[in-house]
Symmetry: C2
Subunit: 342 residues, 2 copies
């Protein structure tokens, strides 16, 4: 089992893989994979993954066989595991706990070659449904405090398998950056009696110059203090703390907003590598009710610049493309493709 260790200076937690530690030779550069002979996420190879936890499949088909649209399976090499008890321990002045958590893979589509920007709105709606179902289920595990859904597209963005997938990691502590965002939201609320994301939405829609796409329920924009070139956020206009409380009628607009934004990024940047992160309130409240101030959203980060010493040392980012320019380039792209036609 892996271990969670706490940095005594900044209270930052780190997951340390203690059982199969990588040796120096494991970091030797490997050539980028060509066409893989066997992809465990491919249609017809369902037996090559751990058994599915959740699946949207054709009526009458059996679990772990063909007939699926979206499959959720445990990560074969998980950072954290559901099995075991949460042990907390001090070692001298240092603190650690056992690596309890969940690490799941959402296999988004049966076809190996399709990227997210190739999907139809209906296909994306199914992926959203899988996210909601897994979030709702994992929330019941009292040991898990926070759940993160994210996507790594491309090897520079951290994807280890080319077949398009997203991931979910649930942790037994609320991570530092999440807590920081929650604190910022609470501070703003205490000062203004308003949600900072609702205010940002209002300002961005008023200025207009950083807005990339909009439908009746969602606005996509490049934020004023974008850390990265072409960083784009998708924010629901209805204030709601948790992603999993999304209403049925919002699923189609969310799928459309995601699809259009990712397609625009693809058209402007020609197949960029990227990450997206779904920011949602923690599942456990730590006895506090302030999470209701929070406003869930999605942050998309194209991986165009390198993170160097200055960024590591300060958390200060140097963004070479003003968000106003990025939004203008993205607005000029069609992005729609066959929206609505599913």
């Amino acid at each position: 089992m892996s271990e969670l260790r706490k940095d005594p200076i900044t209270d930052r937690w780190v997951i340390v893989s203690t059982e199969r530690g990588k040796r120096p030779s494991d970091f030797a550069p490997v050539p980028p994979p060509g066409k893989v002979a066997l992809c465990p996420f491919c249609y017809g190879y369902e037996g090559k993954t751990p058994p599915e936890i959740f699946c949207i499949r054709e009526p009458g088909t059996a679990p772990n066989t063909k007939g699926w649209h979206v499959r959720v399976v445990p990560n074969k090499f998980p950072a954290l595991r559901v099995e075991g008890t949460l042990e907390r321990e001090g070692i001298g002045m240092f603190d650690k706990m056992s690596g309890i958590g969940a690490h799941e893979v959402i296999i988004e589509h049966p076809t190996h070659e399709k990227r997210f920007w190739d999907y139809t709105v209906t296909e994306i709606e199914r992926i959203i449904e899988a996210y909601i179902q897994r979030s709702t289920d994992l929330k019941k595990d009292f040991r898990l405090r926070h759940l993160l859904i994210f996507k790594n597209e491309g090897d520079q963005a951290g994807a280890s398998l080319a077949h398009s997938h997203s991931q979910l990691i649930a942790t037994p502590v609320v991570p530092k950056r999440v807590r920081e965002e929650l604190d910022g939201v609470a501070r703003y609320y205490a000062y203004k009696e308003r949600c900072v994301f609702c205010d940002i939405l209002r300002e961005e829609r008023r200025f207009g110059e950083r807005v990339v796409f909009e439908n009746d329920h969602f606005t996509a924009f490049c934020p004023f203090a974008s850390r990265f070139p072409f960083e784009t956020w998708i924010v629901p206009r209805i204030h709601r703390a948790e992603f999993a409380s999304l209403e049925s009628r919002e699923k189609n607009p969310l799928a459309e907003a995601l699809r259009t934004t990712v397609r625009k990024l693809n058209e402007a940047l020609n197949g960029p590598q990227y990450n997206w992160i779904l920011h949602s309130a923690p599942s456990k409240s730590d006895g506090r009710d302030r999470w209701e101030d929070y406003h869930w959203h999605i942050e998309i980060i194209p991986r165009l610049t390198k993170i160097a010493g200055f960024e590591w040392g300060t958390g200060f980012y140097i963004n070479p493309t003003p968000p106003e320019d990025a939004a203008r380039y993205l607005s000029e792209e069609e992005g729609t493709g066959s929206v609505g036609i599913t």
Copy 2:
């Protein structure tokens, strides 16, 4: 001039290059540079950089000509500039200020091919002297609140020129991550009446299993909650907030500790790309005297793993090599080379 913009949620500042914004086509992948015909950092090409700010050179040689050992010049494409006044402005709910600061390059050695691990102790002592001189000088500029010295080695680590160099960026605000570390140190001090770094040093030396190298003044170790495989810190055993207050007798031991640690990393990891960051107390005290709690040190981060969505979303790192293993591999390496022989 670039702009500093503040994220309204987390108070994080970002430097936005507004004057020569990069277009989508500027991010197209470029092939790694081969042998460059003209390197502006090379011996004999002193006229290809902006005029030198500081230089250690042979007696009797003129500025911006041959005869130098270490040269400090302004960055030709600076993230921040010294010229101008610090203007602060609100735009609707958003905050920005002008991009005042300093961005300098420390050209470490006349020879293009030498890496840091090839330098003699004497050569490294000269580089340390340049860091001290520039830190002391920039501290006098009342607009600059914090100064970061760092090194990017390799293109994946953010280096844009192959000739070995380090950089210095001074900012008009104390960056968020720095403030976070300062807050952590102050919190620990308030609770224990002791410096957290002094306590960590004591614990690491008592356990021994994470120590990589040690001389009379410095200890190099892989920290208990290492974020990255083979992350190594070099910490002075004398408690001192600012790097620039280093005493003359400590320069040689620091050069030895840096050289040995970087050589060990090179031997274990076969020419790794890496960043190092010199963490020192901010130059301006913001009217507070608590910076004296701080303990300057150097953090070295080999770039062996990819930062993916999970890390961006949470600030939670997954480290596949336990620091105890990393320290054991590094201890087994010689690292000394021709230490002492200069």
